[in-house]
Symmetry: C2
Subunit: 206 residues, 2 copies
DNA sequence: TCAGAATGTTGACACTGAAAACATTCTAGG
DNA sequence: CCTAGAATGTTTTCAGTGTCAACATTCTGA
C-alpha cells in the first residue's frame, strides 16, 4: 500500500511531526521551534500540521506529555534497601533525565506552553511524574526513617529541590563546579533528604 | 527644552522602552513581548529601539539585570537574632519577589535570553543576587548552628531550593495547596534549612 | 557656523502562526 | 462495486515579528 511513489497522503503526519520536533528542539532549542519548519522537515505543506494539531500549543503539549510519561517510568538506578537511599537515587534519575533532555524538560516546566491547565492529559501525566517521587517518600516513611510530617509535604519538598537542581543544571548555573559533577548533584540531593530524617547521622556516615 | 510640541526626538527612549516592557510583561507575559509593540507604546517608529539596544535580546538582558539587582537588595523581612531563622526569612523574601514579579523572574532564570554568558553585567548581577543568600548562610555557620560543610555547598543548596519553590509557585504548581500559603512556603524553606542544622530540633520547637 | 554624531523614519526582507477556500484520497454504507 | 462524506492535503492570504539598509532630522562641540 505504501510504495515509494510520491503520495498525496503522507502516512503518519502526527508522529512524524513529533519526531521531527524532538530532533529540532534537541538541536536548536524549544525557543526557535516552528511548525513550518517541522512541516518542511517531513515534506508536507505548511498548513498540513493543522489537520492533526489544533495549533502549535497543542503539539507542544503532546511533547511535554511524552516527557512526563517518561519521567513517570523512572526508577532508582541503583536500588537500595535503604529507603532514603532509594529516594536519593530516584532524585538523581530525575535530574539525569532533565540533563539528557534539557529542551524537553524546559518545555515541560517552562512557560512556553500556554494555558497548561486546559489540557487534562498534561495535568495528569505531570501528576503521575510527581507520584514517582512521592511513592519513594512514602516507602521512607513506612521504614520510619523520616520525620513525622504529611507524606505530601516531604514529597513536594523533595520534588521542588530536585526540580531546582535540574533547572539550574540545565541552564548551566553550576558550570563552575569543580570535581565530579555526579558527586555534586548527589550531595545536593542528599542535603535535601537530610532535612527529612529523624537521624541525619545515618546519611553522614554513608 | 522639552515643551509639549511634537518633537522629533523622544527624550529618553531607552528608559521609556524598559518601563513599557516591564508593564507589558507584567500584563501579557514575557513570551509575547515584542519590540514593535514597545515602540508603538512609547510612540516611536518600529526601528527606533535599535538605536539604543543592539537587539531584542539586549533589552531583555537589561530587564533581567534590573531584576537581579533588586534581588541583591533583599533583606530578611523579619530580622531574627537566630541566624538560621534569618536565612529562612531571606529565602521567603526571595520567593515573594518572584511571586510579585513572576514574568521578570521567568525572564531572569528562564531561557528566553539567548547567550546569557556573553553578558558580563548579567553574570555579575546574578552572582550578586546569589551572594545575598550566601552571606546569610555564612552568618549561620559563624553562629555554629550548621553542619560542617563548605559554605558554598549550603548556600547553593539553599538557593536551589528557594529557586525551585519560586519557580513552581509562579507556574501554579502549588495551586491546590490548602491553608495559608505563606505557612506552606515557610515550611518548605524550613525543611531545606533543617537539612543544614546540627540540631534540627531547634527548628521543630519553633 | 557647521560638520559629524546621535537619533529618528520609511521601506524592505525573511520569517512566523493561523485561517479560508479548494483538491485529493480514503472509507463505509448502499 | 459505487459513491457520498470524512480525512487529509494544498495554495493563498493576512497579520504579526526581528532586523537591516538607506535616508532625514536634530543636537553638539570645535
Amino acid at each position: 500500500m505504501s510504495d515509494n511513489k510520491t503520495q498525496y497522503h503522507h502516512g503518519d503526519v502526527p508522529s512524524a511531526l513529533l519526531q521531527a520536533a524532538l530532533l529540532r528542539i534537541k538541536n536548536e532549542g524549544v525557543e526557535k521551534l516552528s511548525l513550518r519548519a517541522l512541516a518542511r522537515d517531513i515534506g508536507v505543506s505548511q498548513t498540513a500540521p493543522y489537520r492533526h494539531f489544533k495549533d502549535k500549543n497543542q503539539l507542544l503539549v503532546v511533547l511535554a506529555c511524552k516527557g512526563f510519561r517518561e519521567l513517570a517510568c523512572l526508577k532508582a538506578q541503583q536500588p537500595s534497601p535503604l529507603a532514603f537511599m532509594a529516594l536519593i537515587e530516584v532524585g538523581m534519575s530525575y535530574i539525569y533525565f532533565a540533563m539528557e533532555h534539557p529542551e524537553q524538560y524546559k518545555l515541560m516546566f517552562g512557560s512556553k506552553i500556554k494555558h497548561r491547565r486546559d489540557y487534562p492529559e498534561l495535568m495528569e501525566s505531570g501528576g503521575a511524574a510527581f507520584q514517582v517521587i512521592s511513592s519513594y517518600v512514602v516507602k521512607g516513611m513506612e521504614a520510619g526513617v523520616f520525620i513525622d510530617k504529611e507524606p505530601e509535604v516531604l514529597a513536594r519538598s523533595c520534588w521542588t529541590t530536585v526540580h531546582g537542581i535540574a533547572s539550574l543544571s540545565i541552564d548551566d548555573y553550576f558550570e563552575h563546579i569543580t570535581g565530579n559533577f555526579d558527586d555534586f548533584l548527589r550531595e545536593q540531593v542528599s542535603l535535601c533528604i537530610r532535612g527529612f530524617m529523624k537521624e541525619p547521622g545515618l546519611l553522614d556516615k554513608q
